[in-house]
């Protein structure tokens, strides 16, 4: 059974960097069959895909257009986890953040983390 356990602060100040972690059990962050994604959800934006990383001979990183320049994903093979760093956060980055496993062959998210509410506020 694959489980994703998220961790990170619930409150971040504007202009600071948001860091979240997603610990993977039951699979490997460097598996060839899946990609590891971050998705967020807010009442104003609904579900919003932020980006993903996957390993196919080398690491690949793909980011949503709205996130390019601010978002970086870090796969950690030693601890089998995925981290997210979002710089220069704004109040509109307030959302529930999820990590999820994306299965490439048939294009779906089959496992989700529990979600983490992040509030951007002074």
């Amino acid at each position: 059974q694959v489980l994703l356990q998220q961790s990170g602060p619930g409150l971040v100040k504007p202009s600071q960097t948001l860091s979240l972690s997603c610990a993977i059990s039951g699979d490997s962050v460097s598996t060839n069959d899946a990609a590891w994604s971050w998705i967020r959800q807010s009442p104003s934006r609904g579900l919003e895909w932020l980006g993903r990383t996957y390993f196919r001979s080398r690491w690949h990183f793909e980011y949503a257009t709205s996130m390019r320049g601010r978002l970086t994903l870090h796969p950690d093979t030693s601890q089998n986890r995925l981290s997210l760093q979002l710089t220069s956060v704004k109040p509109e980055d307030t959302a529930v953040y999820y990590c999820a496993r994306w299965m490439h062959a048939q294009s779906f998210f089959d496992v989700w983390g529990q979600g983490a509410l992040v509030t951007v506020s002074p």
Binding site: G46, L47, S107, W112
Partner: protein
């Protein structure tokens, strides 16, 4: 505004059949697999349908998916009170090179 369009709400009575539509373009639904997710209040989304029409294990066959051209649909047969939730469609978008979600449909069981 979401790349994939869903009606914001739908409703039905227990036992009824309800369908939820998801409209896209030739860059997303017209070219790539559609998946559907159910989200209960305070919970993470749960996979309902993948590859347009497939069920993951554990999902009742009351749920079914279909696709035609640039539109997809989720059907729920024999509606039950526990089906009251938000439903989202998703597909990879080749134009934007990113994953697109629908805006979500809130299903109410009357």
């Amino acid at each position: 505004q979401s790349v994939l369009s869903q009606p914001p709400s739908a409703s039905g009575t227990p036992g009824q059949r309800v369908t939820i539509s998801c409209s896209g373009t030739s860059f997303n639904i017209g070219k790539n697999f559609v998946s559907w997710y159910q989200q209960l209040p305070g919970k993470a989304p749960r996979l309902l349908i993948y590859a347009d029409v497939q069920w993951p294990s554990g999902v009742p066959d009351r749920f079914s998916g279909s696709k035609s051209g640039t539109s997809a649909s989720l059907a729920i047969n024999g509606l039950q009170s526990e089906d009251e939730a938000d439903y989202y469609c998703a597909a990879w978008d080749d134009n934007f090179a990113q994953l697109a979600f629908g805006g979500g449909t809130k299903l109410t069981v009357l």
